[in-house]
């Protein structure tokens, strides 16, 4: 399959162009604490992104949904397609946990009979993709995936299967991860300050093979790849995570790092060069190798 649109919301702001500008600057954004309560610095999406005019119709959307929607709309690029044949797959490791904890907080504060139905509705993983489907007026299959190891890679593989099966003509595949106080607290208790938690949403409009670089998921690295972007997810291998992955300083640590790197790979395929991230030439295939324990998944772009 091919990628015909990319959308990003991340530490650099909204837009794939912001990723390019950030990486070209070779100056990572400054991490900051998420709140007065949690001192661990994080790389959050800048606050002004959430005031984007495209988000004003979705008054109920939480942070997770807003990031997802904005990135999806950028990838979609207002194209026209048969609505019944447009699919959406949204992957995440931890989902909209900020809203989950808000709901739990309300339960503790007000009791079971006074909890907010709106907060509950938003705390369900499926809310974000539902808003995307409404926004782009699609009526094809929508799937939400929540796994810790390779949620994005498995989602991308499924998109390819849907296209080949003829279930869809276009699939919007994306991954979203957010920070919250509780999340940051857990990270800092488990791993101290060795991780900079990040957040963001990364979406890709995928269509059947044709003009444009192809994308596929496989299990073994490609020997002839000219640029390899490493995504080490092994939680125990902290040193490897920091040393081998300079890109983490631009996005924060993300379980969905493969999705951020696919956006970077797309920029590399367009001829951009980012010395601090991937010094190798990218005339040939670019691959993203994600490892977790003994398992690995490789996204190849060529």
């Amino acid at each position: 399959m091919i990628v015909t649109g990319v959308g990003v919301v991340g530490a650099g702001g909204a837009g794939l162009e912001n990723v390019k500008v950030l990486l070209q600057s070779a100056t990572p954004p400054q991490p900051k604490p998420i709140s007065a309560r949690e001192a661990l610095p994080v790389l959050q999406v800048p606050a002004e992104v959430f005031k984007h005019p495209l988000l004003s119709p979705v008054r109920r959307a939480d942070r997770f949904s807003k990031m997802s929607l904005l990135a999806a709309l950028e990838a979609w690029q207002g194209r026209t397609a048969d609505p019944a044949r447009v699919g959406i797959i949204l992957a995440s490791a931890c989902g909209p946990h900020a809203t989950v904890f808000k709901f739990v907080n309300d339960l503790l504060e007000f009791g079971e009979s006074q909890s907010s139905p709106t907060v509950f509705s938003q705390s369900v993983h499926a809310a974000a993709a539902s808003m995307i489907a409404t926004a782009i007026k699609s009526h094809g299959p929508v799937l939400n995936v929540a796994d810790l190891r390779f949620p994005f890679e498995t989602a991308l593989e499924l998109a390819d299967a849907w296209l080949k099966e003829g279930r869809c003509d276009v699939v919007l595949v994306g991954a979203t991860e957010e920070c919250s106080e509780v999340y940051v607290h857990a990270v800092s208790r488990l791993w101290g300050d060795r991780f900079i938690p990040g957040e963001g949403a990364f979406f890709f409009c995928c269509e059947r093979e044709g003009k444009g670089p192809g994308v596929r998921v496989q299990h073994m690295p490609l020997a002839r790849a000219t640029c390899t972007l490493e995504n080490n997810l092994s939680l125990g291998n902290v040193a490897g995570c920091v040393q081998n992955q300079s890109w983490v300083n631009y996005s924060g640590s993300l379980r969905i790092g493969g999705a951020f790197l696919l956006a970077v790979a797309e920029l590399l395929r367009r001829g951009e060069r980012f010395e601090g991230v991937c010094g190798g030439a990218s005339e040939g295939p670019v691959q993203i190798v994600s490892r977790c324990g003994d398992a690995q998944r490789v996204i190849v772009v060529e």
Binding site: E112, A126, S138, V145, D147
Partner: protein, 390 residues
């Protein structure tokens, strides 16, 4: 030539029974399983709850439900030991197990800022599908579907796509969910819970009852099963999914999404509506769902459509529902009879049919199971009883 997918194993736990045999006995018995009103500790309002009777831990309960049902299904499929090189995938749905929603953990965080980390360790041990894959030695693709109430049925669709794409030889597929205060409170706030036992499709229905459980099937390439010397009478013929694109919590008022999903499934199966013998409907007993789904079913199949909701026996098991109902649909085809829609007494003038009220023989080869979810996801899976296979 498209890969044929057959169903080689079944496993189920719900209030209706701790396995296939006891579930069938409940359906034949004609009475509802005993419900445990207010059993969930700390619930403020008293509503019927459909709990599993098997003694399973309260902590990590969804995982335990899932692994029990999966072991039943793998045993049924003669896959307790996974052969070397056999590509076994896992695709299961859930709504509770995908979130770190431990209330005592959060209470401690709020009050002291130093909660115990055990809930976090449990969460990062892996998603539901990842942990099942590890426990059951499944080395194929792994995915946890979190599509709210259609998760289990959507997982069936993923399994079909994986097998057609030759990503694996077989899939452990279905859904699991435990009773939890969070959806309990959430559904209460949406005013969709019934204080009485639920009455799917009934004129006087007042809403849903929550339940817990797990329903797991083994989907397998026909060629793979034949190679293993395993036979099955049930084939997975088709799958369809469609989004309403309408509203965060309310289904499309005319049920266009569920109608579309059903029509996609029929097209995928290559059959026309009159070949469907019966529908295991989503049938939650909310005013909106049953009216909208009922009318959509009547539009596709006519007002003589044979419909049953099994939620009168299980409650609404959320992410498990699609998996449990897939198993019940397969059982009906296999056994040759359909369980009645317990709880129904009077036809709703806004719904063009009455569901089946007594045990009914199956007369055709195909059956449909439907699911509708929060956020407007709709999914439909068609099973068929193959002629001439033992």
């Amino acid at each position: 030539m498209r890969e044929r997918v057959i169903l080689t194993g079944l496993g189920v736990l719900s209030a209706a029974g701790d396995d296939v045999a006891s579930s069938l006995a409940t359906f034949q018995g004609g009475t509802r399983p005993v419900t445990q009103a207010g059993k969930l500790a700390g619930l403020e309002a008293q509503f019927p709850l459909f709990a599993v009777t098997r003694d399973l831990p309260a902590v990590d309960r969804t995982y335990h439900l899932a692994v029990q049902a999966a072991r039943q299904a793998l045993s049924d499929a003669h896959l307790e030991q996974v052969p070397k090189g056999f590509r076994l995938g896992v695709c299961v749905g859930t709504t509770v197990a995908c979130q770190l929603n431990d209330i005592p953990f959060y209470r401690m965080y709020r009050e002291t800022g130093q909660p115990p980390l055990e809930p976090v360790h449990r969460f990062i041990a892996g998603s539901l599908a990842e942990r099942l894959a590890e426990a059951l030695q499944a080395q194929g693709p792994v995915m946890t579907v979190v599509n709210a109430c259609s998760s289990g049925t959507d997982a069936a669709g993923v399994a079909v796509s994986w097998l057609r794409a030759d990503l694996c030889d077989a899939v452990i597929v279905g859904g699991a969910d435990e009773l939890s205060k969070i959806p309990s409170s959430g559904f209460y706030s949406l005013s969709v819970k019934s204080p009485a036992l639920c009455k799917p499709f009934d004129r006087d229905r007042q809403g849903l009852n929550l339940g817990e459980g797990a329903g797991i099937a083994i989907f397998e390439k026909e060629a793979s099963a034949r190679q293993r010397g395993v036979h099955s009478v049930i084939e997975v013929s088709g799958f369809g999914a469609a989004a309403d694109g309408h509203h965060l919590t309310a289904p499309h008022p005319e049920g266009l999404g569920i109608e579309q999903a059903i029509r996609f499934a029929l097209a995928d199966a290559g059959i026309t509506p009159e070949l469907i013998d019966f529908v295991n409907a989503h049938g939650t007993a909310t005013r909106e769902n049953d009216r909208i789904e009922g009318n959509a079913l009547a539009r596709v199949f006519g007002s003589s459509v044979r419909v049953v909701s099994t939620k009168g026996y299980t409650g609404h098991t959320l992410g498990a529902a699609g998996g449990i109902e897939l198993v019940f649909t397969a059982l009906a085809l296999r056994e040759g009879w359909i369980s009645p829609n317990i709880g129904f007494e009077n036809q709703d003038p806004e719904i063009p049919f009455s569901p089946l009220q007594k045990i009914t023989p199956v007369s055709k080869n195909y059956a449909l199971s439907t699911s509708l979810a929060f956020g407007g996801n709709n999914a439909a899976v068609i099973l068929c009883r193959r002629k001439g296979d033992a």
